[in-house]
Chain length 155, copies 2
């Protein structure tokens, strides 16, 4: 199977996800050694879970099935370009390569709303100007979790 095949299938899944009223227009398929190991569609509203993006769902399903948290050699096919959350999740999962049917640019041009506009704008600004403030307050013992982790995980 070539990349076009899996991307076309992901696009069809995304169309069906919208048609059925199940969620947003996104789907993802993960393939390893020619076999599908995970599939996901956008289920943010259905599941009341803002992290239930297609790529995250596919990664979670593949990892659960294979009983691992790292998907070495796996290829991810996404109907739409992964957002920043999903892109970082792809790095955490150790996916090998990503194939995308529709870029974020085209998706926005097609009239889809930009849910991460604030995020992207904030990342271009100094932290004190972010729309969601992040404040560091080093409370007593704040390094203990890491010191204990290091002690228990030392070679």
């Amino acid at each position: 199977m070539d990349h076009q095949h899996w991307l076309k299938e992901a696009v069809n899944m995304a169309v069906e996800n919208v048609r059925s009223g199940h969620g947003g227009p996104f789907a993802a398929i993960i393939v390893q050694n020619g076999e599908v190991i995970g599939r996901g569609v956008n289920e943010v509203t259905t599941k009341n879970d803002p992290t239930a993006h297609a790529e995250i769902q596919a990664i979670r399903q593949a990892c659960e099935r294979l009983e691992t948290s790292r998907l070495a050699g796996a290829l991810l096919y996404a109907s739409g370009e992964p957002c920043s959350m999903c892109t970082a999740a792809i790095y955490w999962a150790g996916i090998e390569a990503v194939y995308v049917a529709c870029s974020t640019k085209e998706l926005l041009q097609a009239g889809y709303p930009d849910g991460l506009a604030h995020y992207r704008r904030d990342r271009q600004k100094p932290p004190e100007e972010w729309s969601i403030p992040f404040q560091t307050i080093p409370v007593e013992g704040y390094l203990e979790p890491f010191h204990l982790w290091k002690k228990l995980n030392a070679d």
Copy 2:
């Protein structure tokens, strides 16, 4: 309750998560109108889920409980600075503000491994040099999901 109180509690949860062998040294608490609405600890290895970071778990729990995908007015307390995946999830969830006990810089100085080093390095480079290649292949009908979504969601 002040910010220090919730951060100290998150740090204690993170210590306990390591001590019990349950997962990595991270915990998060979400508070809305003075009430805890979600808690999470790192369960990546226990759950075989690379997305099971403390912040994501806390967001998922809060949204499930409150039957919403948006946590307006909620404050997130994290024992360690949220990674890029969790930061974008915080934006998707519409969290109001984030308080952090330990910055990523200090966490790395304390000897914790940098799981997103490649991600951060790649984001400074042009796409063709990323360690995980992202390739766009506009297959037949790739805009259909968005056109259908727009048609069904038109005012």
